[in-house]
């Protein structure tokens, strides 16, 4: 009766294509604090204490907040190929 929506990834498409810079985690520097996970506006960073972080590049828009909030500068923003 009503056109309803259900939660699903990619409600605006494969938003990883929006990216100009790509966050790359230097896991050897990572102190597993979880701040990048906490502040990522996209929920594209997965984290459990002890497992360190993993970024879903299909959807990461490359905003760079994770790199900015990282207390040990373990995330680099690397230009995407072709940019």
């Amino acid at each position: 009766m009503l056109p309803l929506s259900k939660p699903a990834p990619a409600s605006a498409g494969i938003t990883g294509t929006w990216r100009t810079y790509k966050p790359v985690v230097n896991l050897s520097k990572c102190i597993d604090c979880g701040l990048c996970w906490l502040y990522c506006p996209e929920s594209v960073i997965d984290w459990e204490k002890g497992t360190k972080v993993r970024i879903d590049y299909d959807f990461c828009k490359g905003c760079g907040i994770c790199a900015d909030v990282c207390p040990v500068k373990a995330i680099d923003m690397v230009p995407e190929a072709g940019v």
């Binding site: 939660p7 502040y39 996209e42 828009k61 907040i65």
Partner: protein, 302 residues
Amino acid sequence: MSFRIDQLPKKKYVLPGNAACAGCGMMIGLKILGMALGEEATLTIPASCASVVQGLAPKSGVAMPILNVPFASAAAVATGIAEAFKSLGIKGHAVVWAGDGGTADIGMATLSGAAERNSNIIYIMYDNEAYMNTGIQRSSSTPRAAWTTTTPTGKRERKKDVALLMAMHGAPYVATASIAYPQDFYRKLKRAAEIDGFKFIHLHTPCPLGWRLNPAKTVEVAKLAVETGAWILWEYDNGRFKLNPPSTIYADKTKRKPLRDYLKLQGRFAHLSEEEIRLLEEEIEAKWNTILALSKAFSQSQ
């Protein structure tokens, strides 16, 4: 209440691939809302960026029940939901997630009405300080001097302080919050959920597009707003008005960072002269005097 980051729920209430701009501060707020009340909340969202970021039907990039509603109606629709829940014996919170336009301007009447009759809702005003969804037009919550497309030489009027207005309604719970301080916002959401009646949280949410800001700096600039004293974290809980950390220490003016540090990250303030910055500092000082006077006058629970 304190908590460790690793103890926060991992379930995603904001889903990857949604329609928010890169670096959107509001989405950090929505994430925290999900963590705090995701299983208990039914959201009412008026016309705003928040209606767009959900992405395209039949998908939704926000994993909570949502009723999208007309611009001015949110506080009243949520009242209806809360009353229905009460009448039908359903547990849960009717939560409004609205922007500064939908709250401070077009939605002011329904908001004030809900506050005055103490409707049992949690109203969150995510404040990115202009009509960002329609392309950066001024709102009454835009700070003085800020550039917007309808204030091309800077806004001449001061920012409407909606949180104080709600406190002056005598609402049982009113607080300010910032997306830079998720722990504080989380705690305030949990506190609001414990209280019967009208709850209002004014959440400061930078907008890279509208603030002419590097998206990477969203959290940093929000933090600077607090550290320079331009945004003050406080809560008014059952008649008691108090500052919250880290704003508590900034009651001492000398502890604050220079306002310039906050302004210089934002293109919307790029045109400001030294004199204009000085005037803004005076205005911030006046706001602090008000807040400190209130926390002195309302230092006990009523």
